[in-house]
Amino acid sequence: MKKMLMASAATALIAGTAYADSHANEVKLGVILGFTGPIESLTPTMADGAELAMKEVTESGLLLDGATVTPVRADGTCVDAGAAVAAAERLITADKIDGIMGSDCSGVTGAILSNVALANGIVMISPSATSPGLSVAEDNGLFFRTAPSDARQGEVMTQVLMEEGIKEVALTYTNNDYGKGLADSFQAAFEAAGGTVTISAAHEDGKADYSAEIGALASAGGERLVVAGYVDQGGSGIVRAALDTGAFDTFHFPDGMIGNRLEENFGNEIDGSTGQIPGTDSEGAALFVDMVGDAFDATSSFAPESYDAAALLMLAMQAAGSKDSADYKLKVMDVANAPGTQIFPGELGKGLQILKDGGEIDYVGATAVELIGPGESAGNYRQIVIEDGKITTVQFR
């Protein structure tokens, strides 16, 4: 009996090492997104975008001498920092990931950064965390984002509204890092440009009734209501109540409100409303749409940013010749910015080859990536208007 136990233990050990050997050349990337929670309708396509880049790199066989890239998904919930931190911990300790594509919402992203990524020294690139607060968060050079800070979005919003001739708006925001950060940066920019914000009122997500908020917003008045919220959450409740009571007919929607749900929920009731969402008309965007085909909705919010975030992680690894975060964190800015050969979506193999040969690349990707300051996107925005119940692109800024 003892012998048999020894034998089976030995076999298990050998099998274990064999298993480890065959996977030595594997890169694991964590995909931490809010698959449940306020933006659960956006996250599946975001994950698809990121995994598309990983598949492309694996198929090219060029990353770090033919490494395969495996995505490991985890639920960041968007709102529950505790759950997100636990999920990230699990990915690092149990799945041994080499980098994090994520997270999505600003609050949980900050929590994962300070509690998990910093402690374990793991690089993380967020496709959609936009809070201005993250620009100054302590990150040891580990944190990047392919989405611009909301300080920039506040300026773009101001430009859009000013050009429409709107000088007076009411403002409501979802009471969290994202909403508060965006509302503050918008109010500062709008007032600096000579506009008036009649009221800035918070709303809580998932609450029973928004009559009180709408009453206050309507009383303060304004030509348009700016809703810095989430389309799957309180944001839609606010718009619904504002329409029903006739408090406001047109709205301005920042990125969190723009999604298919907006068309489904309100259709042509909100015709004439405006908004903006990170996006670009660079040829990379069109290439990305072609490449994705029918696999998923390539124009869905933050799907291209997710592709770019994952691509940057892998290109930086190649440039550093290592999947160790401490090495490749220094290379992220290099591969993202000029000088070098421009790399578009679908050309990740080409980029890897150039880097392997010791050349330099300037990753453009699906969203015209240009990382500035502490490693965040300079920010290109797609300005939209609602026409006949459809989200229609006006121009890019």
Binding site: K207, A208, A218, R240, D244
Partner: protein
């Protein structure tokens, strides 16, 4: 004219929404208060009972819609409501048989019942999410408005509009009918009287030959009906989302406690107190003031007592004050 405008603005943004929300809370609080009065525990599963009844109603609504059965200008959900109540009744009766009966036989303390109901809450919560999903479901159809802002403005020529949604009208009418029926039942019928007797003094009621199991069963049936009606009205008026129903538990309990737990009249008063306090204390009176005051006195600020961030705090401050000054609630309920 300005005076009329002020009244209309106030009705549109304060009175109408608060009355509708108050009715929904009152119906929910009635269910909580009945269980407290007769079965003697605080039922934390009430929000999720509402969600379950509403879910069954929604499923039947979809089925009716697919068969093109509709109630004309009224929402189809009203036709599906009896089926929802039946479904909910089956669930609560099953829960009572499987769970609460055991503890009743043991004469368990109320606090044990409360914790048991917490467990039931999580199970129901999971059940609803499992069946219908976590997303928003909208099931309102038929006419959206009794009177919309635009028609009101055209009719009256006033600057301010007044909107009354069909769902708000239905909510208030249904609430009045349900409350009237409930009070008739409790005060005039034999079963209702036996329920009150059981509530007042259990032992005495048993001695005079009242069948306790029957009282318990009737209570659950009424609670299922109240919960489903409250849930459906709320869902029609806003939207159905399991998580929101779970959160509704707080204002409903606040309403029941403010009114006096165990007292049906108090539950109604409590519902309206909570709804009105949430809306009025955080209302920005600027618009109304501009209409009413002479130009020289017009306020430049918002004339808002508290920012809307504090609307939940308002309900709970009222709750605390009531508990400190009159622990049995506004309408002498039972103190624990």
């Amino acid at each position: 004219m300005d005076f009329l405008n002020a009244i209309v603005a106030l009705s549109n943004f304060v009175l109408v929404p608060a009355i509708a929300y108050g009715s929904q809370l009152a119906l929910g609080a009635l269910g909580v208060t009945l269980i407290y009065g007769i079965l003697r525990f605080s039922n934390f599963a009430h929000g999720d009972t509402m969600a379950f009844g509403t879910m069954v109603t929604i499923l039947f609504t979809w089925w009716f819609q697919s068969m093109r059965i509709s109630a004309g200008p009224l929402p189809t959900a009203l036709l599906a409501l009896p089926f929802g109540i039946a479904g909910c009744a089956l669930l609560v009766l099953f829960t009572d048989r499987a769970v609460y009966k055991f503890y009743r036989a043991q004469k368990a303390k109320p606090v044990i019942f409360v914790i048991v109901s917490l467990g039931v809450m999580f199970i129901m919560n999971g059940l609803v999410r499992f069946i219908i999903g976590v997303d928003d479901q909208r099931f309102a159809d038929g006419e959206r408005f009794i009177i919309s802002v635009r028609t009101f403005k055209e009719m009256t020529g006033l600057d301010e509009g007044l909107a009354i949604k069909t769902t708000q009208g239905i909510t208030v009418v249904t609430a009045v009918i349900v409350v009237a029926l409930l009070f008739y039942f409790l005060n005039r019928t034999r079963t209702g009287k036996s329920m009150r007797a059981y509530s007042d003094n259990e032992d005495l009621a048993l001695l005079s030959g009242i069948n306790p199991e029957r009282v318990v069963m009737v209570t659950w049936l009424i609670v299922a009906a109240l919960a489903t009606i409250a849930g459906v009205l709320y869902g029609l008026d806003k939207s159905f989302k399991p998580f929101v129903y779970f959160q509704l538990l707080l204002p409903i309990f606040a309403a029941a406690i403010v009114g006096g737990l165990g007292n049906p009249l108090g539950a109604i008063a409590g519902g309206f107190t909570i709804a009105f306090s949430e809306v009025t204390i955080t209302y920005a009176w600027k618009k109304v003031a501009v209409y009413l005051l002479p130009e020289s006195l017009e306020p430049s600020g918002l004339v808002q007592l508290l920012s809307t961030d504090y609307k939940f705090a308002v309900s709970f401050v009222i709750l605390l004050i009531v508990l400190l000054i009159k622990p049995t609630g506004l309408f002498a309920g039972k103190s624990v």
